[in-house]
Symmetry: D2
C-alpha cells in the first residue's frame, strides 16, 4: 500500500512535535509537509525547532530536513499532502477560518484544535465511542460545497480518562445521570513554555482556563446524536469538573464519582470491571495501527493508576482505571488516567485519521 | 500569669517536632517534658533528633537540652507537666491505652492521634465548630473515675480545608445534604520518611490508606450532638472523599462540590462569600493566642488558593477558600486549602489546648 | 528618626515584589514611590500586580494603593523619594542609561541590575566584604558632575554562597589561588514566568545564560582595589564555575573546591571552621537592621546545608556552609548555600542601602 | 542459538526489577531463576513484587509466574541457570560471601554490588574501557580452585557520565592528570523507598553516603593494570567528586573540569569532540546486543544534556556529553549524563554478560 502524504500544521509547537515523533515509521502515513508561523517559514524543520525540540527521541531524519511553510498560505500545501493534522496555535477565529480554507482546497483536516469542536456539522470523534458520527461528513461537504476536503476534530485532552469508561457502561445499557469529577493534569497539557516552574514546584494550581467548561460540555456532543444534519447534545447526563494542574510531566488523572439513571438497574462492581476489561470497539475491530489492544485497562492495585507508572500502557493509548469502589454519595467512584499528549492529543488525532482512512474518507 | 507546663508525647516525630517549634515562646505554655520511644529515652532532645530535625528553624534552646523520657513510662511524667500533647506514633490500641493511662494519672491529654476519635465520650474538637462538645469532659471523667485527667482529640488533617467553610453555612441556617470532594494532600502529612520520592517526582498517588474513611466519617461526629452522654453523628449530611497525594511539601487542598438540603432556601454566591468573610467563632471571641483573626479567608483571584502561596495565611491557621462557583450537578463548588502540619496537626492541637485553658479545663 | 522615602524601580517584577515585601515595617525606609513599565503606569500597585503577586505574604497595605509611575519618566520621581532601589527589567543599555538619569536628578540608585557592575567607578558591594569600596562614590559624583545622586550596585545572586566564606579565609591571611565550583540554583533566580515547568520537573538544566561568566568575573572586582579612581580586579585568584538550574524554589547551593596560594601556610579544618564561625564584619559592627548576626553559619550535619531547610537561617541573610573536608585535588572543599532572592537580591540591596545610610551617603 | 539460562539474585529490588524488565526478549539470555530474601521465597514473582513493581512496563509474563527462591540457598540454583546477575541488597560481607558461594558452585556471577569491587583478582568492567581486564578470570578461578564459576563486577552508577569521555581522550594519547567534578544524581539511585520526598521536593541533598569515595577510587582500578595477577590502580590521574541528590527520577549528570598531564600536548576543542564522536570500542566491534551504537553522543545545544530529555539516548546506554568549553582553572570542562539504572546498573550488567558470552567465558 502506498502511504498517504500527511501535512502537520503548527508543526513546531508541542503537539506538532508529538505528531512528528509519533508518525515516524507510521505504516499508513508519511509526513511530507510541515507548516508553522511565518517566522519559522523558510527554515528547515530542525532549524525551526532548534532549542525547542521537547521530545525524548531525536527529530526523525526524514522530517528534519523538510522545508517549513507558512501555515497561513494554504495554497502552498496543494499537491504536497493528501490531508493535514491541525495543531495550530492561533486564536480560535483564525484557526477556524484557516482550517476551513484547507478543507475548501480539497485538503481534509484532522484537527486537535478547539475552534470547530462546537461547529454543528463537524464531528468531534473518540474512535472507541462515536465513530458513527463520521456519517455527517457527507452533509458537511455538501452544505459547504467542498469537494474532497472536510473537517474532523478531536476533543480536549482532559476527558479521555473518564469518558471512555463511562461510555463503556452506557453502551451496556447502564445509563449514567450525574458525574462529579476532579482532574490532576500534567504540565505538558499547557504546551511550552506553558506553566511557570514557580507555579508548580511545591505547589498545585486549582485552575486551568476554559478547561472545566470543555470537560463538561464536550462529552455531551460526543455522546449526542445527529438530527437534521446537526449534532444534538446528550441531555440525560451531566458533568461537573474541577480541573487542577499538578507537578507531573505527562498523564492526566481524574477522580470520578457517578450515579446511574435507573436506581433499579445497576451493575455490581464485578460487572463493571468485567465490562471495562472486555470493552473493545471500532478501532480494535478494524485493527487500526495506533489502537490500543485494550482501550480500558483495569488495575487491581490499591494505589494505581499513577501517571508516571501507567501513562505509557499499550503505546500510551489505553485509559488505565483503578480503585472502583462504592461512593458514599453517588453510586460508584474510580480513578482514571490517560496520556494527555498521546491519547489526549497527537495519538488521538492519528487514531482519528486511521479511522477515516479505514472508513474510506481519506485518499491519495 | 504563670505558664502551664506542657509535655509532648512522640516528641521526636514530625508532628512532635512541629509542636516543639510552635510552642517556642508560647504565651501560656512551656515545654518541660518530652517523651518518645524507648530508644530515644535517656538522650537529650537535640541528640535524639540528630539528623531527623525537619523544621526550618533551629531546635528551641530550652527544649534542646531536655532529657527525653520513655513515653510508655507514664509515672515519669508525674510532677513534670500539667498536661500533654499526644503525637504518639504507636499502633491504635497501644496509643489508646497509653493515652488513658496518662489521663488516669491526672495528666490531661490533648491528642493528635486517631485512637480515641471514635470513643463515644471523647470529644473531637475543631474550636471554631464544636467547642460546646467539651461539656462531655465531666461525664468522661466521672464514668472513668478520673480525677483531673481527661482526653480530648482533634480530627484528621484532611478535613480542615472543607469542614469549616461548610459549617459556616450550616450555622447560618443553610443545611447541606451532600458533599463530594477530592483532596490533593502534601507529603508532610505522611510523616518522615513517609512518601518515597520515586512515588512523587513526576507523579501523584491516588490513594492514602484510611484517609477517605476519616475524611467522610469524622465530620459527622464533629457536626453531631451529645445524647445520653455519648456522641451521636450528624445524619443529615453525607461526604464522599477522593484522597490523593501530590508533590507539595505542606498544605492540603480540596475541590468540593456540595448541595443544600432545602432547594427553596439557598444563599447566593455573594451571600456565601459574605458568610465566610464574616465568620468568627469561639477562638476569635476568646482571643486565643493561636486563633486566626479570620478563620476563613476568601480570595477572589481565579487561580487561588495555592498551597505554597496561601498555606501560611494568618499564622498558617486560616483556611483559604477560593473559586466559589455554581456546580453543574450540585449547587456550588469551591477550593479550600489548609496547612496540614499546623492547622491540621500541631497548631490545631495547641488551639484545642488554648480553648481548654480558657474554658477552665486545664490547671497547673 | 524620620524614615527615608524609598522608590522601587521595576516594582512589579519578582525582585521588585521582594523589595516591597521586605521593606514592610523597615525601621529606616518607607516605600513612597513605585515605578514600572509604561503599561503598569497609572494603575495602583495592587491592580498592577494582580495575578502576578508571587510573595507568600499579602501586599503591604501602604504600598497596595500607591500609584504606579512609568519608570522611564525620571522627573516623576523627583520629590517623591530620597533614593531608589533599581530592579529594572530592561536591556542592559537602557538600564544603564536610566539609572544614570536618576542619579543625575539627585536620586541615588541602589541597584540589583547588572548594567553598571563593570562600570569602572561604580562600586559593586557585598557589605561584609568590601564596604571600603564606597569611597569611590565621591569620585563618581565629581567626574560625572552629579550633586546628590550616585550609583551603587550589588553582584549576581549566584556568588553569595561561596564568596563570603572564601573572603573570610583571605581576610585572615590565607590567600586562595584557585577555585572550581558548581552551583545548583533555584528557579526563582530566573524571575517569573522564568523557567518552564517542562524544563524542571524530573529534570535539571546544566546551563544558565551569562551566569558562569558573572560567577567568575564579579568576585574579582569585589575582591579588587581602587587605583586612580577606578577599580582594578584581584589577580591572584581564579574562579571556574559550572551553573545549573534545579527544582528548588529559593536558595542557591554551591559545591566548592579551592586551593591556597601558599602551600606552606594552610589552616586546618578546625581553624577554617573557627574563622567562619567567628566571622563578623562592618554590617554586624554597625548593627544594620538587615544584617545577619552570623554572616556565615557552619553546620556539622553531614547532609547539610539543604536549600529548603537552611535558606531562611538568620532572616534569610546568612550563608550556611557545611561539609568542609579535604579535596582530593585541591586543598579543601565545602558546600555553601544562600537565599537568592533575599541575600542574593532584594535583601542584599537593602543591606547595601542600610550601609550607605549608616555611612552618611543617603539623606532625606 | 540456544539462549543461556539466567538467574537474578535480589530480583525483587529496584535493580533486580530493572534486570527483569531489560531481559524481556533478550536475544541471548532467558530468565529462568529468580531469588530474593527469605520472606519473598516461595511466592511467585508477581506476588513477591505486588505493590512494589516500579517499572513502567508490566512484569514480563514468563517471569511473572516463576517461583522465587531464597538467594541464600545457593544449591537451589544449581541446574536452573547458567549464570546469575547479582543485585543483592545485603550488607557487604554477606554479599561477598554469597557471591563466592555461587561461583564455587559453578555459577558465574555478574554483579552490580560493591562487595567485590576492590577484591584484587576481581575485574571491575566497563566494556568500552577495560574489557582486557577479563583476562584475570583464569587466574581468579585457578587461585580459588573454582571450576566454571567466577565473579565479574561493574562499577558504581555515578561514574559512567564522566569516565568514558575521559578515557576516550586518554586512549588517543592525551593523558589527564586532575579532575574535579560535581554530580547531580537521580533518586532512583537510592532504590525504593530510598530518598524521602520531604528531602527532595523543593530541595537538594548535597551528600550521598559513600558515593564520593566510590566516584574517586573506582576509576583508578578501571584505568589500572594487572600486575602479578592483581590489579594495580592508575596513579597518574586524580579525581575529586562532589555528589548531590536532586529531584530527578533517572539520569545522573556530572559537571566536570579536567587538566591534561602534558601542557605541551593538548587537543583543541574540535579535536576532543571529534574523538568523542568517533569513539567506539569492543562492545561496538563485537556488535553486542545492548551496546550503544555511539557510546558517547556529543550534543551542540547550549543547554544539554538534560536528564529527562537525554537519558534514553541509544537504548539508555549512551553517555550524552555537552557544553565542552575551556575551564578558567583547568584546561576544559563539560557536562556528562548517563542513565543510572540502565547504563549505570542493570543495562551495564547485561552488557558485561554479553561481553563475557562473546569472549567465551559463559556457557550453557
Amino acid at each position: 500500500m502506498d502511504k498517504l502524504r500527511v501535512g502537520v500544521l503548527g508543526a513546531t509547537g508541542m503537539v506538532g512535535q508529538k505528531y512528528i515523533q509519533l508518525l515516524e515509521n507510521h505504516p499508513w502515513f508519511n509526513v511530507t509537509y510541515v507548516a508553522a508561523s511565518p517566522n519559522s517559514a523558510g527554515k528547515n524543520y530542525s532549524e525551526a525547532v532548534k532549542g525547542r525540540w521537547q521530545m525524548a527521541s531525536p527529530i526523525p531524519s526524514e522530517v528534519s530536513s523538510l522545508n517549513v511553510f507558512d501555515a497561513n498560505k494554504v495554497l502552498d500545501a496543494i499537491g504536497k499532502c493528501d490531508f493535514v493534522f491541525s495543531a495550530l496555535e492561533l486564536d480560535k477565529a483564525a484557526t477556524a477560518a484557516l482550517e476551513e480554507e484547507y478543507a475548501k482546497n480539497n485538503i481534509a483536516v484532522v484537527s486537535n484544535c478547539s475552534a470547530h469542536r462546537f461547529t454543528p456539522d463537524v464531528p468531534m470523534i473518540v474512535p472507541e465511542i462515536n465513530s458513527s458520527h463520521l456519517e455527517i461528513i457527507e452533509q458537511q461537504k455538501k452544505s459547504r460545497a467542498w469537494d474532497k476536503g472536510f473537517i474532523v476534530v478531536k476533543p480536549n485532552c482532559s476527558l479521555q480518562s473518564y469518558l471512555t469508561p463511562l461510555f463503556a457502561l452506557q453502551q451496556k445499557g447502564y445509563l449514567i445521570s450525574r458525574v462529579i469529577l476532579s482532574t490532576m493534569q500534567a504540565v505538558s497539557g499547557a504546551g511550552y513554555p506553558g506553566v511557570a516552574s514557580l507555579d508548580i514546584v511545591d505547589n498545585i494550581i486549582p485552575f486551568i482556563s476554559g478547561e472545566e467548561e470543555k470537560s463538561e460540555k464536550e462529552p455531551l456532543k460526543i455522546l449526542g446524536n445527529i438530527r437534521d444534519g446537526k449534532f444534538v447534545d446528550a441531555n440525560s447526563i451531566k458533568f461537573s469538573a474541577h480541573c487542577n494542574r499538578v507537578s507531573v510531566v505527562d498523564g492526566h488523572t481524574a477522580c470520578v464519582s457517578f450515579e446511574f439513571a435507573d436506581k433499579n438497574n445497576k451493575p455490581t462492581k464485578e460487572e463493571i470491571i468485567k465490562i471495562w476489561r472486555e470493552f473493545a470497539s471500532v478501532p480494535q475491530q478494524l485493527n487500526l495501527p495506533s489502537a490500543p489492544i485494550h482501550p480500558i485497562i483495569y488495575t487491581e492495585e490499591e494505589n494505581r493508576p499513577q501517571p508516571r507508572k501507567d501513562r505509557d500502557n499499550d503505546k500510551s493509548m489505553a485509559v488505565t482505571v483503578g480503585r472502583l469502589r462504592e461512593c458514599n454519595v453517588f453510586d460508584y467512584r474510580f480513578v482514571g488516567l490517560s496520556h494527555n499528549t498521546v491519547r489526549g492529543a497527537a495519538g488521538g488525532g492519528i487514531l482519528n485519521a486511521e479511522l477515516l482512512k479505514a472508513k474510506g474518507f481519506l485518499h491519495s
